[in-house]
């Protein structure tokens, strides 16, 4: 069965790119969120297998959202989406429990390689 992914990013454009990558890779994008608060709500509601999480977002940033999601489910798999130059924040997110990260602009093969590794499919 195709794995379910929740895509979190405040940019619709970026969400679309990521959604397309997942669709092409055989994943089901079961939901998307544009900020950290929404991300936590959607996670509780949809129970995805994996979340891709933008770092910098309004209302609640990706690190806080990750922390909150992991409080809800300590086995949750959250992969951060970051830009170059955000190394420190990514490491903070990893401290908070994120399992991996992808770097924007996302390249299909990188994203799928990371996600498959995390899901133990590679």
């Amino acid at each position: 069965m195709a794995k379910k992914v929740l895509v979190v990013d405040d940019s619709v454009f970026m969400r679309d790119i990521i959604k397309d990558i997942f669709a092409a890779g055989g994943f089901t994008v079961i939901g998307e969120a544009g900020n950290g608060v929404e991300a936590v709500e959607k996670f509780k509601e949809l129970k995805p297998d994996l979340v891709t999480m933008d770092l910098v977002m309004p209302y609640r940033n990706g690190i806080d959202a990750t922390r909150e999601i992991l409080r809800t489910d300590n086995k949750a798999l959250v992969v951060m989406c970051s830009a170059l130059g955000q190394e420190t924040m990514v490491m903070e997110a990893i401290e908070a429990g994120a399992v991996d990260f992808i770097v924007k602009p996302p390249r299909a093969e990188d994203v799928l390689a990371v996600v498959k590794k995390v899901l133990g499919e590679a």
Binding site: M91, V114, A122
Partner: protein, 658 residues
Amino acid sequence: MAGASWDTSRYLSLFAGEASEHLEALGKDVVRLEQGATVALVDSMFRHAHSVKGMASSMAFEATAKLAHRLEDLLDTLRADVAKVNQAVADVILQTVDALSAHVKAATQSQPLPDSTALVVRLSELNAGLKGVPPPPVSAPPPPPVPEAAAPPAASPSGVVAVDAAAPPRFALKLKINPASNQPGVRGFLAYKRLTTLGNVFELKPPLDDIKAGRVPQGAVTLELETDQSEESITRTMRTVADVELESIGLVQRAPPPPPPGAEADRVVGQEPARTIRVRTELMDQFLDHAGELLLATARVRQIARGMPEALRPPLDESVDRLHLLVKGLHDKVMQARMTPLALITDRLPRAARDIARRRSRDVELVITGEDIELDRAIVDELADPVLHLLRNAIDHGVEPAEVRKAAGKPPKGKVALSVTRQRDRVVLELSDDGRGIDVERLKVLVVERGLMTPEQVRGLSERETLMLVCLPGLSTATDVTDISGRGVGMDAVKRVVEAVGGSLEIETRAGRGTTFRLAVPLTVAMVNLLLVGVGDEVYGLPIGKVSGVVETARGRLALSQSAPVLQWGQSVLPVHELSSLLEVPAGPASAVASPFVVVDSDEGRVALAVDRLLGQEEVVLKALARPLDLVPGLAGVTILGNGRPVFILDVARLVTA
């Protein structure tokens, strides 16, 4: 024991070096301890003692290991309750550090280890006494520390694995971060975090901070993982981390004990690239020597190329330019590799300050800033003694006893500050105290009393020149311990050393307010800018730093003072010295029109040197003189010019007195 099964002698110098570093750091910590004990501080001390113990035991220096072990036990007790630290405890710790240093020294010289039985007993008693303080009845007594396992996970900085059969198995892992990956630093950090979910990580190389910053040479990371998980489980976990490959994994052998630090490559599986290596100082000197020779040889080739037919010139020049760039690059890299932080010498000072202050019953606070500034290792080494001299002088003769200070309305605790700053291509070390200052008038009297100068000479001195009198050799050897002559102890040596490395010394003082010694030294010794002058058939180099200016005038137009020629220089009149007579070489025919005079700063003050020709300025590689030439006064070194001609560099400061 370990020593029997493998040859320890090849590790001896490594052992000595690292153990001394730990002991020095430990001594420094003790001094800080007296300013207030914190858990972090005692922890640091504990780790140092623990490292020394592990190293000594690996080298089969049982007596050393035992002493370090007792110290470790004591520190373990103290870190559980830092309030137990007091002066007596600090004294015993320092005594132990000294004893351990003596052990290390003896071991290095293949001497029998000193007998420290009494100290071992003293440490045990002290520790028992401290532990004997009954805990509050409500709380359960802490479990007795298990000596070997007492080290916290992070307390294995020098690669010494505590032998503990009860600990879970330990695996050596070698990881490779895909060099093409985005943010390799974060990748490495992620792999590290993932492994910490399985157990405790030790021996991480590069250190975590380097990994996080992306400083991972060739993407190679090695570590040891102490875990109850199986090898398969570790391998499986690592497979979930993208872009990080587990290159090898193997169980760490715990017995016999691992070789001492420095031999890590033998211990961890495979050959991982080391982040730093230790290089003997002489080797660094040779590198520099060779790089310098290459520079000179290149200049020589360039010179030869000038004599070639025009048609050959462009490709030849181009090649020489390229060669010069490469050689210059190599030279710069070698210079860079020689840069060492001043902490190498300042780290010893707190301990020294404490010892001097206690001996003299002074209460002194030493504040050191800027010790992380780097300069050439050769200069750092040279400065060690002068800085210690200045510190000793500041405490011995500058800072007053507490009662005197109170009476003068000063805080009873004296303050000595060493500040290091970088000012363009110089490093300035300022050692200042808030003591009584130098009594300039008494200094003048003393100089006359000792027959070092006539009253007339002394009267003619500026304040700055007067203060420099403390550097007169005659004063420094004075044996009486008046406050002024005391200042002179070693001051001539200080000045000599500072000038030998191309630096300068300045003194400022304010009566009752304190004294500042300012040492300005170049970042590197090897390159020096010269003014080339000709005398007769000879060419000499004068360091530009010592040259104040050049005047051209006919010799016949010089004024005379007491029948000696003098040169008008701004507002002042300078004595003129013929360089040819100072060097005892034949002079060329004097020009009737205009001869050049170089105004330089010597030990005798500012003087004018009469030369035959000015030949221009050149940046050269200074080479030290070999015996017996180094004994010739007035010579500072030698260099080889582009035309292949060797040229002596003159020691301007002492040229005139020589």
